[in-house]
């Protein structure tokens, strides 16, 4: 019952957050110099009269709230079109989303597995050579920009050695092995960014948890080392990791995969959003922002439920 109340409350606040995001995004175009979409719709050599005519035709001369309501109506009925490309925004998102989702999911699996292994090993071997090596590698991974890592991987593994295709995308529906083959390098490149941060946080948290009384109690009860590690130490140590994962994954799915997408020539949401922002194209920016916001709200709710599962001291929706 607690969970149901929590879900309902989160749903209500999700609507509020999404509404606020949409209004703020809409308003920001007012703040940007040259943010008026009529400037772009009218073309490069337009006269002020042309711009006025376009403004009238599209309703840009109406009060802001009327424009907002009209835009939101078009979004909810799925008819909304890009101002620069004149295709429906949803068709573009439908095309790009599977790519971005696949990229983010694969990378997430990779970086979580690597981070848990490196973090736990680093903590158990704290102060030893292997720990120093892991920490150094983590710092390197955190510091390495993905356009460098990606370009290097492409150059060496794809261009020189020919082990992987040189960018591009093949959907899993046409060929799963080929999809996998195309995605391995992007996954790895994207995961490099996160492994270091996650591994270091986990390492220090595991170190802290190892000295807790309940860990000693669990050992004294006769539980095996690995069982104590997984059931007692790792569980509570994962809390900050889970928080970060919610934020990172939501951001990636919402389109911040842009660099990896452009390095590997994957036409996902990230490229679409970046291009739309570059062209100050309101409809795709608005839809993509709402889309991303949805994932942020959803994943953070999941994270809060996960807290309660990981640490029995935390109650779901406790006040």
């Amino acid at each position: 019952m607690d969970l149901l109340r929590f879900a309902v409350r989160r749903l209500v606040s999700a609507v509020v957050v999404l509404f606020a995001v949409s209004v703020l995004t809409f308003l920001i175009f007012e703040a940007i110099p040259n943010g008026n979409p009529a400037l772009r719709l009218a073309g490069r050599t337009a006269t002020p009269a042309d711009i006025a005519a376009v403004s009238k035709a599209y309703g840009f001369n109406k009060p802001l709230y009327v424009q907002y309501l009209k835009t939101m109506d078009q979004i909810f009925t799925g008819r909304i079109e890009s101002y620069t490309q004149h295709v429906t925004v949803f068709s573009q998102i439908e095309r790009g989303f599977p790519i971005t989702l696949g990229l983010s999911l694969g990378a997430a699996v990779m970086w979580l597995i690597m981070a848990v292994i490196l973090g736990v090993v680093g903590a158990l071997r704290a102060g030893k050579a292997s720990d120093t090596a892991i920490t150094s590698l983590s710092f390197l991974g955190i510091s390495a920009p993905s356009f460098v890592v990606g370009a290097l991987l492409l150059y060496v593994l794809a261009y020189k050695l020919g082990w992987f295709p040189n960018g591009g995308y093949v959907g899993p529906s046409s060929s799963i092995p080929s999809w996998f083959h195309h995605m391995v390098l992007p996954w790895f490149t994207l995961s490099i960014l996160y492994v270091g941060v996650y591994a270091q946080i986990l390492r220090s948290n595991v170190l802290d948890t190892l000295s807790e009384d309940y860990v000693r109690t669990a050992r004294a009860k006769g539980l095996s080392r690995s069982r104590v590690m997984v059931r007692h130490v790792l569980r509570t140590s994962l809390i900050p990791i889970v928080s970060l994962f919610g934020l990172d994954f939501a951001a990636l799915v919402g389109g911040s995969t842009i660099i990896v997408e452009s390095v590997f020539n994957l036409n996902g949401i990230g490229q679409y959003v970046a291009m739309s922002i570059g062209e100050l194209d309101i409809p795709p920016v608005l839809v993509a922002t709402l889309f991303g916001a949805f994932f942020v709200v959803l994943l953070n709710a999941v994270v809060d439920v996960a807290y309660a599962t990981l640490d029995p001291r935390i109650k779901v929706g406790a006040s």
Partner: protein
Amino acid sequence: MTLTPGPELTEIGSVVRHDDGALLLPGAEEATVGVGPYQLAWRRLRRNRSALIFGGLFILIVVACLLAPVYADHIAHTGPNVNHISEVITVGGHQKDVVSLTGTPIGPTWHSHFFFGADANGRDVAVRLLYGGRNSLEISALATIITIGIGTIVALVAGYFGGWADNVLSRLLDLIWAYPVLLLGVALGVSLSISGLDLGLFTLKGGSDIVPALIIGVVYIPYVARPIRGEVLSLRNREFVDAARALGAGRLRIMFSEILHRPATGPVHHPGGLPLLPRSRGAGAQLVVGDHAAERGVAARDRPPPDRGAGRDAGAGRAVGQHRGRRPAPGPRPPGPGDHQVTARLPTTAGDR
């Protein structure tokens, strides 16, 4: 008091493993009583060789960037914005054009002049890198202070009080995180860089470094606040918090003294965590806002050009993004000083912090 770790001592639970990696026998924890959180942190840092090495590297970079004018005046003998496009220099006895007739700039010479080569305008890349680095460091430092300061307070309040305070603050964090950073960078970066901001009490000059620092700082608050809030949720029900409450400690004291400074599990003591997060993510955002606020048409005119962030020059050298080339202006553009075209170019540095 610290014992050499024998095999029987490394077992989880039978020994206490301390933060600095030292092992203590059960019952020997008393030995560390009296060691404050700062001492513990310092001890931990001293033991962490890789952190020391990378920390040293960082200090080296800071010093190098601070010495940028010295390098420019006494070694490279040129400024960050001096064009040498039509000049010829002698490298190892050979005469070379700084920028060839076909427009290719000279590569790294590994000499005092054009150590890292030149850019298309014949400017010394090494000099520009150092000057840009000053700006990047300044912005990042300021942004990090904002992120950690506000993020920690928000997290403590949300996590400790819970209820509606948590609900409101957490949804606010969702809102910030869901907001398109790139767009915010364009909008605030451009409009504030042009006109500045007058808040009555204090005013921001146009082109101030505070603008990008503020944007980056605020945008990454959730990344610091959410994990800390999660830990506070777990910590607030611990025995030591109950003990403090029983002793009559007030809420503020419990929040800022007990929970925040909890030596072992306190959220602020993630060695790889807090100091790194804003850095790792901030650097990307810095490119974004740097590209917009410092490089884009606007600022290139309004602020002295050496003030561009290092991120910008790094970006220019990147060949991977297909958006890098200058695009034709999409809208009609009345020429004039008041015209600040913001859509001319798209940085490929949006996400993937």
